[in-house]
């Protein structure tokens, strides 16, 4: 499937995020795993969560960094696919609009999309599984 027809939405049931000047931090609110995105991921993030088409985002970033859109497209597609593989993005049925695409060029050098995953909380949150209901006794069944 061509990248241009992919549509995603941010998985608000499982993740929360905070935007800083040079970093996006995304938290899995269930297990405490967190992600740090830097580089071109920072200006791309508002467009991604607003469900804008990948070609539009790539074009916007190309303008910002003063480079060809083709140079951004491959990195952007790979970044979005990683977000989807981590369930940070879920497949959506339609796009939305409302962001101003007209950005002036920036002197910031393009350095690709930086994606980090941290699972420091695993020791804290590793617990026994929950047992499901017993038809005769009701829940919990242990």
């Amino acid at each position: 499937m061509p990248a241009s027809v992919h549509a995603y939405r941010f998985n608000r049931d499982t993740f929360a995020f905070e935007c800083f000047d040079d970093e996006i931090v995304v938290l899995n609110v269930i297990d405490g795993v967190y992600y740090a995105f830097r580089g071109a991921a920072v200006p791309a993030w508002p467009y991604i969560i607003a469900q804008h088409p990948e070609p539009v985002i790539a074009s916007t970033l190309a303008t910002r960094y003063g480079i060809q859109a083709d140079a951004v497209t491959v990195d952007l597609t790979e970044f979005i696919e990683r977000l989807a593989s981590e369930k940070i993005l879920l497949t959506a049925s339609e796009n939305t609009s409302g962001i101003d695409y007209s950005q002036s060029a920036s002197l910031t050098k393009y350095a690709g999309f930086i994606f980090e995953r941290h699972d420091d909380m695993d020791d804290l949150l590793t617990l026994d599984p929950i047992h499901d209901v017993d038809a005769q006794k009701g829940w919990p069944n242990t």
Binding site: R12, A16, F17, L27, N28, L124
Partner: protein, 387 residues
């Protein structure tokens, strides 16, 4: 099933409620949170009052009445909470008018009360890994996986019921910070947040010490006690994330690893160790061991990110807001039983508004405490110039 933004865990939406109603059920099985509330309320009314012990705790601006049914010999169970100040409860006002919330704890074995059979499934409680909870805006039902107990909070009535197989089933870790999952939901309904953080201070000014377990929060907090500074928390505190950013004490306890770097006479001499928790930690009730060090509230002026170093001297330098967020938010959010989106936004606000520092602590924690004292002094004199 419709997708809804969660508050206090998965929302009990109409689709799920209908599915519950249609699920086959045995006689006597409870089918809804309100039925569970009514059932446990009736149970409590039928219990022998002479076998109950009571306590009123003051957690910052919140007053909580706690009653333990069937375990009068465990009357010290609630002493991990700060007691209400003497005279703070008006003689004219009824107790019900004077407290914000009441928690009834039922010792199932001693009271002869079996665990209620519930119609819903474990998966209905959502994916939270510590205390899965299941909510609508009126009630939250909790699964206490460590104790194999359950609880339900009726937020509008200001009442919660906790059923445990026995008081002994509550783990030492949970006895050091009881009902934290319940206090989460209560705090958010009062515009407060429970933070996974230590808090130390001096002269009313506090430092919020954040980070995942094992990075030195407790070490620094216990060293602060040894140095005569104020101690408010080593793990969990109540925070008002609006200026002037007040932190309140939730628990009187402190934990210490058996191989901890902190050495102190008050620890060595303490005869009030409560128990060991997982990981070889000892739990102290500081209301007995070091009562003079306990602070009820402190005004937070900075965030501290701790880590250990093998160097001889501590190094204190500034940390970026995003680094502080990455250290403060994940463990707080993962343990949050309230609105994670709200807590995320509050921590994001906090790290932008307050200066953040990283301290690399050597083995001798007294040197680190000197740096904390100096920082507090500078924050008091000219907070805007501290960097």
């Amino acid at each position: 099933m419709t997708s809804m933004l969660r508050r206090d865990g998965p929302i009990l939406n109409d689709t799920r409620a209908a599915a519950l109603r249609n699920r086959p059920v045995n006689d006597g099985m409870i089918a809804s949170p309100i039925e569970l509330v009514d059932h446990l309320k009736q149970v409590v009314h039928g219990l022998d009052e002479s076998q109950a012990s009571g306590y009123v705790a003051e957690l910052g601006p919140l007053r909580i009445e706690l009653r333990l049914h069937g375990a009068g010999d465990h009357a010290d169970f609630f002493e991990v909470f700060p007691p209400v100040r003497p005279g703070a409860l008006s003689k004219q006002a009824s107790r019900a008018q004077s407290v914000d919330f009441a928690i009834e704890v039922i010792d199932g074995a001693r009271c002869g009360v079996k665990r209620p059979g519930l119609k819903w499934r474990a998966s209905d409680f959502g994916l939270k890994r510590i205390v899965p909870a299941w909510s609508n805006n009126k009630r939250t039902t909790y699964f206490l996986r460590s104790e194999c107990g359950l609880a339900v909070a009726d937020w509008r009535a200001g009442h919660a019921y906790v059923w445990v197989p026995s008081i002994e089933a509550i783990t030492a870790r949970d006895r050091a910070a009881p009902f934290r999952w319940l206090l989460d939901g209560l705090a958010q309904r009062h515009s407060l947040t429970t933070m996974h953080a230590a808090v130390i201070g001096e002269g009313g000014i506090g430092l919020l010490v954040v980070g995942e377990s094992g990075r030195g929060k407790s070490t620094l907090a216990l060293a602060a006690i040894s140095a005569g500074m104020d101690y408010l928390a080593d793990d969990y505190c109540l925070l008002d994330a609006r200026p002037p950013y007040r932190a309140y004490r939730l628990f009187n306890t402190a934990k210490l690893r058996a191989d901890a770097r902190v050495q102190s006479d008050w620890i060595a001499d303490s005869a009030h160790k409560l128990d060991s928790v997982n990981g070889g930690k000892q739990v102290f009730n500081l209301a007995r061991s070091a009562p003079g060090s306990l602070a009820d509230r402190l005004e937070i002026r900075a965030l501290i990110l701790t880590e250990f170093t093998d160097e001889a001297l501590p190094v204190l330098d500034t940390a970026s807001p995003n680094e502080a967020f990455r250290r403060a938010a994940p463990s707080t959010i993962a343990q949050c039983e309230g609105s994670e989106a709200q807590v995320t936004a509050e921590i994001g606000h906090l790290v932008r508004q307050l200066p953040c520092f990283r301290i690399r602590m050597p083995r001798d924690s007294r040197l680190s405490i000197d740096r904390m004292r100096d920082l507090i002094h500078r924050l008091r004199k000219a907070p805007e110039n501290v960097s």
